[in-house]
């Protein structure tokens, strides 16, 4: 083909490797997610806490700066596992908000206009399709969770007057692992729920509901049956426990119940399997009528 001749011509150029098709999906998904002003607004909001904590770490490590702002305290705050736990918790809940906005944008546009038959008629598998979209979501959520967390850790290591990094390396690995688990869970949960709801606003609500409604049910189960196992439905509670253990922060004295790490892991894996089954049922080129 040629614009001026309007004739068809076959393509004889080079072809990209098969594995890069997933990145094409990720690229267009990423562009779609970030084309919204609300995404940019949410992202800006997500970066505010790390900036505040950055300032706090700066003050904690700089007596001169503390003197300049008139602080009499010898330490503004203690930079330890507890501080990074707070950072991780705040950023993780911001990530939930961001994922509830971004995930529906990645999937529902394709479903609303029945684009799957065309998309999947290209050399890309259903797994590849979901994986490509997950990369876009995972990357977006990473930028507001473990990336700023590790940057703060690096800054603390750099600005601390005493050797700090080597003794606290478990904080960095725990923060990275905890954030990656949460972001991966949010990615698959967001995509699975979005694939079942064609309206984006409803999908956004469904993602929040999927996190908080079972938590409410779990609290009722715990209250009625007087058992700690109801908390296995409470994703925020489970994640808080997991993060605390990964970062090595002491367990809070106010927490009456605790759950074994193994049980938390099983529940998270189970949630991922359910999401995978939901995606498997919906991400198809054709709806097959059985009977």
């Amino acid at each position: 083909m040629s614009v001026y001749k309007h004739n068809y011509r076959a393509y004889a150029g080079k072809i990209t490797p098969a594995w890069t098709r997933v990145l094409v999906l990720a690229k267009y998904g990423f562009a779609e997610a970030w084309s919204s002003k609300i995404t940019v607004g949410l992202f800006t909001l997500c970066l505010l806490p790390p900036i505040v904590f950055l300032f706090g770490i700066y003050l904690a490590n700089n007596p001169l700066a503390r003197a300049l702002i008139g602080s009499r305290e010898s330490r503004v705050m203690v930079v330890d596992a507890r501080l990074f736990l707070v950072i991780l918790q705040i950023q993780s809940w911001f990530a939930l908000a961001l994922s509830s906005w971004i995930a529906p944008r990645l999937i529902t546009f394709d479903l609303a206009d029945n684009a799957l038959p065309i998309l999947l008629s290209h050399p890309i598998s259903r797994f590849g399709y979901v994986f490509g979209k997950s990369i876009a979501l995972f990357t977006s959520l990473s930028v507001v969770t473990w990336v700023p967390g590790l940057l703060l850790f690096t800054y603390q290591s750099y600005s601390s007057p005493i050797p700090w990094a080597a003794a606290n390396l478990h904080i960095a690995t725990g923060l990275l692992a905890g954030a990656v688990i949460w972001v991966a869970l949010l990615s698959i949960l967001g995509l699975a729920l979005s694939s079942w709801v064609k309206w984006r606003v409803v999908a956004t609500g469904a993602i929040f509901a999927a996190v908080f409604v079972p938590a409410g049910v779990g609290a009722i189960v715990t209250g009625v049956l007087r058992t700690k196992w109801g908390f296995l439905l409470n994703i925020p509670f489970m994640m808080s426990l997991l993060w605390r253990r990964l970062l090595g922060a002491p367990e809070s004295a106010t927490v009456r119940y605790s759950l074994p790490t193994g049980a938390i892991a099983v529940m998270l894996v189970l949630a991922c399997f359910i999401c995978a089954a939901m995606l498997n049922a919906r991400i198809r080129a054709r709806e097959v009528v059985r009977g």
Partner: protein
């Protein structure tokens, strides 16, 4: 080896057999896929694309197995689905570029080919508009553009003229003919409109209840059939028919001066006019026709022998 080889292909949805032991070799430049609703046309296309797993038998495209080599097959196929299928909030050019990149074109080439494909199908002026603002005809055309952009070896068009007005339909048929003429792309066109297949295809596969009712080369079929002439006459019709029988024509007379005749190759229409003039008969109307695809299709639908695997008409 054909473009598409079917070997005892059976596809089931649950207990329902949708494609029942299809066997045949399709090798035309443009292959028409005909059949009534529910005959299994779209299922066959979806199976060729690897969307459905055969319960028995195999389907091969360019010698590649539809299941085992589906990624390779899809790389060489451009698919235009029957129903609306696009990403509505993307501009036309972005959508086509996206599809071309997914097919394996590098980003820069994909953008270039997207512009070219959109101009080629006649959407050049609206390529920056969002796809969901397009009319039905434009949506059909953008599906064709995305199927063409990466330069496929086989173009699968599922009901390409669905919902188009006569002008848009003509444009679509014209485009398909042009693509066929260019020669580098093989076409598989599914339609329930016989006229569309008649105009664009040289080979036809007719499906009925998931089985092959006919598989034939349209041109050869036409050549093998004799030509008919239908006449409407006024005057001494009986005497006129006796005279034209004398020329070697097979002839049947009907009330109202209508005569239907099969003429041998050495007889021209002019000869009929000469005899009519000599006998004072007026020929008011003359229709020359050969076996149409409609005749082939109807025979295949009626043909009990069509239940065999491979039927030649």
């Amino acid at each position: 080896m054909g473009i598409i080889d079917l070997n005892g292909l059976e596809v089931r949805f649950g207990n329902r057999v949708v494609l029942d032991g299809l066997t045949g070799e399709l090798q035309g430049q443009a292959i028409g896929l005909l059949g009534p609703n529910g005959a299994g046309k779209s299922t066959l296309i979806n199976t060729l694309l690897g969307f459905h797993v055969p319960s028995r038998g195999t389907a091969r495209v360019f010698g590649l197995d539809s299941q085992r080599d589906r990624a390779q097959i899809r790389g060489g196929i451009g698919y235009m689905p029957e129903n609306d299928s696009f990403i509505g909030n993307m501009s036309g050019v972005r959508f086509v570029r996206y599809m071309a990149e997914l097919a394996g074109l590098p980003a820069a080439e994909a953008l270039e080919r997207a512009h070219e494909a959109l101009f080629y199908v006649g959407l050049g002026e609206v390529r920056y508009r969002k796809v969901n603002s397009y009319s039905l005809g434009m949506k059909q055309l953008i599906k064709l553009a995305q199927a063409l952009a990466h330069g496929p070896r086989l173009l699968i068009l599922d009901e390409p003229t669905n919902g188009l007005d006569p002008i848009a339909r003509q444009r679509m048929i014209h485009l398909i003919k042009e693509i066929r003429k260019e020669g580098s792309v093989r076409l598989l066109i599914s339609s329930h409109l016989l006229h569309d297949i008649d105009e664009t295809c040289d080979e036809v596969l007719i499906l009925k209840s998931g089985r092959i009712a006919a598989l034939c080369n349209i041109e050869e079929e036409r050549r093998s059939n004799r030509s008919f002439i239908e006449l409407e006459t006024v005057g001494a019709t009986e005497r006129f028919s006796v005279s034209i029988r004398g020329l070697g024509c097979e002839c049947a007379c009907f009330p109202g001066g209508r005569i239907k005749l099969v003429i041998p190759d050495n007889i021209e229409a002019r000869d009929l006019y000469v005899i009519a003039s000599e006998q004072g008969v007026q020929i008011r109307r003359m229709n020359r026709r050969r076996d149409s695809l409609e005749d082939i299709f109807l025979r295949a639908m009626d043909n009990e022998a069509g239940r065999a695997d491979h039927v030649s008409l």
